[in-house]
Symmetry: C2
């Protein structure tokens, strides 16, 4: 067992998705497409007498993180910091789950492979009901196309090869579990259609267009998000809704050009990374 | 068609590998394990009247790059820069092939997915006889375990989750095609054994040990490499041979501690990346 270990996990905004349930949480998940962000979550894991979890200095209950620690049989103090808001479609819970898995593996010398750690964190998120595809995409990085659902043993991934400035504007929270627990047939049909659009032409512009159509057809688009997306469009830009938050994401300077004061970051080119151990 | 585009591709040192031929070059390749390096190759692609390829300012013939441009129907001037030596086991030809694919896709607006670009560059490398697994690992990043051979449609990849300082010491070149064209049964048997060692315990230490055994059993270990590896071992470190070069790679400060003046870099956590377009 070494001492403390730290991981960085990119935020992730989903443009569209399907819901693909399965009795096995490592096979369940979603297809879809989303963007890993250079704004993310830093997760620090320290061996401790009892499990504790905090986010930006405040204690927080997070089912997915607890399950990861339980699976790895690791009593640890997990402390995470991020500038991204919770519950707004940035995949903060997925980031905490996978960051905890990566850093715990190092701090407790658990000798698992990266795919095994993704499987553990993905299954924990699915069981906790807080996400279906964030962990997989946050481990993969870039603009991930999830062609088949589930953890690394089952999924099929590709990427839109792109680098770009990304802006975001948060209006309010949305509860992920309310949507995922509800009727998802129409949502999944809209998600499949969007996926086939992006597979035909894997570009950012096509992704944004397919995501806007999905937001309407899935009935997830809120009036306030729609108004901001239209503002960006009228200013000549391209924006869509981050699933699942009342959050607008735009390419380039789309939100700035429309008069908003957005968060600004980049497409993060890599998946989550363990921070180098300065002693090695 | 935009203007110029640029990609960074990490260098890649292979510790052990198998040779898995197939009539289809996108299915052929190798299993094995290697380390992506923060020292890599920057590839710039500009639309041009005729194809030209240069490395560090000098014209160079590179079959894999020519095939990539041919497949993408892209007459381009490709110029690459790197501090890594050619023919010494750093995957420079694979880096140039995949960097050309990534940057050409952007510069010529070819709208292909990342997996499609990996497939094209991997197939080109196999057909040119300059590599079997570098492109796939350079696209994936980190310490890639190649569990099944071939391009993204066929292969299965995992990673050893690790960050570490890496040192390297180049003695001389080795010709990759001489080895790959020869009898590879014993090599592949040794590669499979090493792979199963690393799958049992995916750690850097186990990887280095399995790689040293592979170098001996495959008969690829040269006397000069063996002497340097022993020097590092006697100084308390861990080193192995980079396949295929007369090059020694060590973890941490292994070569420095043994009195050498090595190249120094880090495990590169990400696969190859397109550089951001500053105009966007």
């Amino acid at each position: 067992m070494t001492d403390v270990a730290q991981a960085f996990v990119p935020g992730h905004v989903t443009g569209f998705f399907t819901s693909d349930p399965d009795p096995d949480p490592t096979k369940a998940g979603s297809r879809g497409c989303g963007i890993a962000l250079s704004d993310g979550v830093v997760v620090t894991v320290r061996p401790a007498d009892a499990v504790s979890i905090e986010l930006n200095g405040e204690p927080i209950a997070m089912g997915a993180v607890e399950r990861v620690l339980d699976t790895l049989e690791a009593p640890a103090a997990v402390s995470a910091t991020t500038d991204l808001p919770l519950g707004s479609g940035f995949g903060v819970s997925g980031a905490m789950a996978f960051g905890t898995a990566l850093a715990t593996n190092a701090a407790f010398d658990r000798r698992l492979s990266r795919n095994e750690l993704v499987t553990i964190a993905h299954g924990a998120e699915v069981q906790a009901g807080t996400g279906l595809g964030d962990v997989v995409a946050q481990a993969h990085g870039g603009v991930t196309i999830r062609l088949e659902p589930g953890g690394p043993q089952d999924n099929v991934l590709d990427r839109i090869p792109a680098r770009r400035r990304i802006e975001y504007h948060v209006i309010d929270e949305l509860a992920t579990d309310d949507v995922l627990d509800g009727e998802t047939t129409a949502l999944t049909m809209a998600g499949k259609k969007a996926l086939s659009e992006v597979v035909q032409e894997p570009t950012l512009d096509r992704f944004m267009r397919a995501s806007r159509t999905f937001a309407r057809e899935s009935d997830l688009l809120t009036a306030r998000v729609r108004d901001v997306v239209l503002d960006v469009s009228e200013a000549g830009g391209s924006a869509t809704m981050a699933m699942l938050g009342e959050t607008v994401v735009a390419l380039g300077t789309g939100l700035t050009d429309a008069g908003y004061d957005p968060g600004v970051c980049q497409i993060h080119p890599a998946g989550a990374t363990l921070e180098p151990d300065p002693s090695m």
